[in-house]
């Protein structure tokens, strides 16, 4: 490594300084910043994707539409916009396990999953998932059965992926709202399964 970052100021201090400089020039309105932050803290998160998955689990016609035209079917539930302009949905099956990564940055389907979690942005995930996915998934706590084929999707352009997990056994009588509460962010990226209740 080059020079150690000694004497380097913390990003917290530098963020404060940058905001001050831009506010003084009237280039930034702190209220606009607050609105952005609140939106991604409260409104845009994996619950959106969970609702998409639960609808697909309970409505075969919707499921077929979702797999054929993810963008339109997701928009029908009210989710779209930046980082979700062209969505593709990948269905987990007994035979195939899908997992999504972005090796060039950390591209992620914001409208349905919110902002990416730290592990998704981590070099170990971005580097390992396209080279040794089975091992990387194991490191993350998911053992993919030997007979199940792994398909890795590197979202290297603007296509954004949502994984449709397998519906767990024992939920046959559940409605969409109850099912949505079971669906996790990790299952919709493909690094976990939805656990049976």
């Amino acid at each position: 490594m080059t020079d150690a970052p000694s004497g380097r100021l913390s990003p917290a201090l530098r963020t404060e300084a940058l905001e001050q400089l831009l506010v003084e020039r009237e280039l930034v309105d702190p209220a606009v910043m607050d609105a952005f932050i609140t939106t991604y803290e409260r409104d845009v998160g994996p619950l959106n994707g969970a609702r998409v998955v639960a609808r697909a689990w309970t409505d075969p016609e919707y499921r077929a539409w979702l797999l054929q035209d993810g963008t339109a079917a997701i928009k029908d539930l009210g989710y779209g916009g930046p980082q979700g302009e062209h969505m593709v949905v990948l269905e987990q099956t007994e035979d195939v396990h899908h997992v999504v990564v972005c090796t060039l940055c950390s591209c992620y389907p914001w409208p349905v999953l919110g902002l990416p979690p730290s592990w998704y942005k981590d070099p170990a995930y971005r580097a390992g998932m396209v080279r040794t996915p089975r091992r990387t998934l194991r490191e993350m706590g998911l053992e993919v059965p030997e007979g199940r084929e792994i398909q890795v999707w590197d979202s290297s352009a603007e296509v954004r992926y949502l994984v449709l997990p397998r519906r767990p056994a024992g939920t046959e009588e559940w409605d969409a709202e109850a099912l949505a509460a079971l669906v996790t962010r990790d299952a919709m990226v493909g690094v976990a399964e939805v656990a049976a209740p």
Binding site: M1, T2, P5, P11, A12, L13, R14, T15, E16, A17, L18, E19, Q20, L21, L22, R25, L27, V28, V32, M33, I37, Y40, E41, G45, E85, H86, T103, L104, C105, L115, S118, W119, P123, Y125, A127, G128, M129, V130, R131, T132, R134, R135, T136, E139, M140, G141, E149, I150, Q151, V152, W153, D154, S155, S156, A157, E158, V159, R185, D186, V191
Partner: protein
């Protein structure tokens, strides 16, 4: 350009992390950095999303890695602002040092020189007046690209043979869009590569899919 941001298949990072529940922003400054960067890439610096990604790719590896994800965004926002001369180099550091009591002189605000650029539409989807050059099932080869400027063809996918899995709608080409040399919309292909084509005969068996812009491909 090849940069620290292009991480696919690189080694030495240790095991992947076990997922945990976490808030979108672990600390208040991360949310501030997020919002400042989103505003900077468009409204304030007059640049665009591809220019932002190119700024991330031009960071020194230390600046890319040491401050975490939103620190990396902050550093790229600062780079975009100095590129557009909204801020002078060192202005952020000087202000931060003054804020903690150091006697540092701040550079004067320069005259902004934002790029002369207007997107033709929001987002990156565009129309083109010709059909895709390659079809589903066609065998394609990625070119041996090593441009000085930005590219979205990762290193590990150069000079590789794959099969077109899907034809996607045309998108703006980041290579030129990031540097305001035109949108150059073109078809994007999801190409399937066998793992052995990427990592040799001893690779774990799996299929890798990636989006590849039309100009990155050839039939040979």
């Amino acid at each position: 350009m090849d940069s620290i941001a292009d991480m696919g298949g690189t080694q030495g990072w240790g095991p992947a992390r076990i997922p945990t529940d976490e808030p979108p922003f672990a600390e208040p400054w991360e949310g501030r950095s997020f919002a400042l960067t989103v505003l900077t890439m468009g409204r304030i610096s007059g640049r665009n999303l591809d220019a932002f990604r190119h700024a991330l790719g031009r960071l020194h590896p230390v600046d890319y890695l040491v401050d975490g994800y939103y620190g990396r965004w902050l550093n790229a926002a600062e780079l975009m602002l100095t590129d557009s001369t909204v801020l002078a180099p060192g202005a952020v550091d000087a202000r931060a040092r003054r804020n903690r009591g150091e006697d540092v002189e701040e550079p004067a605000f320069p005259e902004p020189t934002r790029p002369d650029y207007q997107a033709t539409a929001p987002g990156s989807l565009r129309e083109v007046d010709h059909g895709p050059a390659f079809g589903v099932g066609e065998v394609v080869h990625t070119k041996d690209l090593h441009p000085q400027g930005p590219t979205k063809l990762p290193r590990y996918l150069r000079r590789r043979t794959g099969t077109v899995h899907a034809v996607r709608p045309p998108h703006v080409l980041p290579d030129t869009h990031a540097v305001f040399a035109g949108e150059n919309p073109q078809h994007v292909y999801t190409v399937a590569f066998p793992s052995t084509e990427l990592w040799g005969p001893d690779a774990e068996p799996f299929t890798l899919h990636a989006e590849v812009f039309e100009s990155y491909l050839e039939t040979r």
